[in-house]
């Protein structure tokens, strides 16, 4: 008798471009997520994202290989003009996306009223951290999956899953937000633009590199975020990852530049009932997406085949380490070393 393997979590990979989408699908992604070229998604960067023709081509490629396309529509509709958000919903339907990733109740209400059959995933930007919060969105808008903010412990994730009918997706790998997603206005405080209101954090247009007396200064709208000595490697000045002064001590006062990597937790995540694992990084290159997707595909397949014998292979770690921000890996809030 052929024995069915236990169902593995869906591997959800980032597609900042059509090339990245194709590479992710070819490397074994179960689903890819993408956004349009405007402020309707939380990676609103120049040179990134999809026009209509590219969405159509991407959907065709994904569907031909049995993968799904999820469209991120996870910023908040503008007070003066919800048009771009409504049009994005309509496009997702007409171009054949399999689901929308949404955060704004205004957008969800539009979907409910105009496209009741459309599958909705609750974006991490909706900041739903409990089963009660998720139930709010399920009852009112029929969401079928929720992406959890990167703030809960494994035990809290398990507790939440036991109390909800909604499928749960968690972040597995990529840049780490230390703040609750959807609850951070640090970027607009400094630059006027934030993930909620413009789909960006610490936007490149506000960054300035200046040669100073003690090294190269990274400034965000003139606020000194960090200063690098000649022998130090420089990071992008995401403002929560800068070095600041608190009570006379200069340090990474909020968060050191680190990456999330939960490869070691994969069997536990599966045992808890996590239905999908998201790889962060629509702003990263197609090569990055391909390599990270391949490692995670192999890991999930290993964990499904023999969960008891699962171990992180050294070559996976080596492969992923090349892409880690700050060259460090952490398990993020899932194990809370700072607890």
């Amino acid at each position: 008798m052929h024995q069915e393997l236990p169902e593995g979590p869906e591997l959800v990979c980032p597609a900042g471009s059509l090339r990245a989408l194709q590479v992710a699908v070819d490397a074994g992604a179960d689903a890819v997520y993408l956004g349009l070229k405007d402020a309707t998604n939380a990676r609103n960067f120049a040179g990134l994202n999809f026009d209509d023709a590219q969405v159509r081509d991407g959907v065709a490629h994904a569907h031909a290989h049995g993968a799904k396309v999820l469209m991120a529509l996870n910023t908040y509709a503008d007070a003066h003009d919800a048009g771009p958000w409504h049009r994005a919903v309509d496009k997702a339907v007409s171009l054949g996306a399999d689901a929308l990733i949404v955060a704004d109740t205004a957008v969800m209400a539009y979907c409910r009223d105009h496209h009741p059959g459309l599958r909705l995933h609750l974006s991490v930007q909706a900041s739903a951290t409990s089963h009660a919060a998720i139930e709010f969105y399920r009852r009112r808008y029929g969401i079928q999956r929720a992406v959890l903010p990167r703030v809960l412990t494994l035990q809290q994730v398990g507790q939440l899953i036991r109390h909800t009918a909604v499928h749960i997706e968690v972040f597995g790998f990529g840049s780490l937000c230390v703040m609750v997603e959807g609850r951070c206005a640090l970027s607009s405080y400094v630059t006027g633009q934030s993930p909620n209101n413009a789909g960006v954090c610490s936007p490149p247009s506000a960054v300035r590199w200046v040669d100073g007396p003690e090294g190269v200064q990274a400034r965000l709208n003139d606020v000194l975020i960090d200063c690098y000595a000649p022998d130090e490697s420089r990071g992008y000045p995401t403002l929560c990852k800068g070095r600041f002064d608190v009570a006379g001590e200069r340090d990474y006062a909020i968060e050191e530049p680190t990456s999330l990597n939960t490869l070691a937790l994969l069997p536990e995540l599966m045992a808890l009932g996590v239905k999908a694992i998201k790889i962060e990084g629509r702003q990263r290159s197609a090569a990055y997406v391909g390599q990270v997707t391949a490692v995670w595909r192999a890991a999930i397949d290993h964990a499904r085949a023999a969960p008891g014998r699962y171990a992180v292979l050294p070559e996976w770690t080596a492969q992923l380490a090349r892409h880690a921000e700050g060259q460090q890996h952490t398990l993020g809030a899932y194990n809370r070393p700072w607890r």
Binding site: A77, H80, A185, Y189, N196
Partner: protein, 313 residues
């Protein structure tokens, strides 16, 4: 034809104390407020579940006293709900029938709607009229706008002439963050504990030593942010004392004043006299620093500028 006139009075709401103050400091603070010009007082701990100088029963008792003194009292829920214990506290807030409750997140909306009068807190991410209508449909008729919204956006979301209405037909009232450091971000992680290099679960309540939070400056000495446990605030104090006419025109019905440790009763008195007593604002805000009110001021968000900016009138 009838037209809806802006409310004669810009109501004053004293927001929940966002810092960790000792029990005696809190009780003194609220005893002072009982005799002051505040219309509404928000009570409760919204930042960290570990802060328990006052428990729910204490807040309820305090609420009764303030209510007897003529204040409208609202209970605040935690902004970040993480555990079953957090949800149990929410459930208890839903079970009381004395006070309205300000929802800090969607968990609160789920548990409170239809059970207690609901206030929409500033972290619910309501950025458009359609979103506000979705929340009005829950029966809420008060909305504290997200701090990122500008005057023109406030006016577009809930205009005085054509307000969003609840199913029962009540108009939505907009409240705006008029005084205080801006609540910019929340995390599961405690940055005060991180600074002191102690674990969050055994933090020794170090934040009790920072009644206005812990200042974070750029390395060239510019005050930038304030660490308040799991919350990150602006170092600047948003101050809209000079914006009464603009706020009214944008449909704002009440002003939120967020407590600071020193000089707050003078701030409250000044807001009342300037906004509602036609008094001149000349020299008032300038005198706060001598009382220990933090600064500098900002108002950028109101004008669609970075929130840290101060734009003079």
């Amino acid at each position: 034809m009838t037209t809806t006139l802006p409310p004669a009075r810009l109501a004053l709401t004293v927001g929940q104390v966002l810092y960790h103050w000792s029990r005696s400091s809190l009780l003194h603070f609220y005893a002072d407020l009982a005799d002051g010009p505040a219309d509404t007082i928000v009570l409760g701990e919204a930042v960290c579940a570990r802060r328990r100088e006052l428990r729910l029963d204490d807040w309820l008792a305090l609420g009764r006293e303030l209510s007897a003194a003529g204040k409208d009292v609202v209970l605040a829920t935690q902004t970040l709900i993480e555990s079953e214990a957090d949800l149990r506290l929410l459930e208890r807030q839903a079970e009381q029938h004395e006070f309205a409750v300000e929802a800090g997140d969607a968990s609160a909306l789920q548990l409170l709607a239809g059970r207690v009068p609901l206030v929409l807190g500033p972290h619910l991410n309501i950025y458009s009229r359609a979103a506000l209508q979705e929340h009005a449909d829950l029966g809420a008729d008060r909305w504290v706008a997200p701090v990122e919204l500008s005057l023109d956006q406030l006016a577009a979301v809930n205009p005085a002439q054509d307000p969003v209405r609840t199913p029962a037909g009540r108009p939505m009232r907009t409240e705006c963050w008029a005084f205080g450091r801006l609540p910019l971000a929340f995390s599961a992680r405690c940055f005060t504990a991180r600074h002191h290099r102690v674990p969050k679960d055994d933090c020794g309540y170090r934040c009790l030593a920072d009644p206005d939070g812990l200042l974070l400056s750029s390395t060239e000495g510019r005050p930038f942010l304030v660490l308040n446990g799991t919350q990150t605030q602006s170092a600047t104090v948003q101050n809209l004392l000079g914006d009464g006419a603009r706020l009214r025109a944008a449909g704002v019905a009440s002003l939120r004043l967020s407590p600071c440790a020193q000089g707050f009763s003078q701030v409250l008195a000044d807001f009342d006299e300037v906004m509602n007593g036609q008094a001149s604002m000349a020299g008032r805000a300038e005198a706060w620093a001598a009382l220990g009110v933090p600064g500098p001021f900002s108002n950028g968000y109101l004008h669609r500028l970075p929130g840290m900016v101060w734009q003079s009138a």
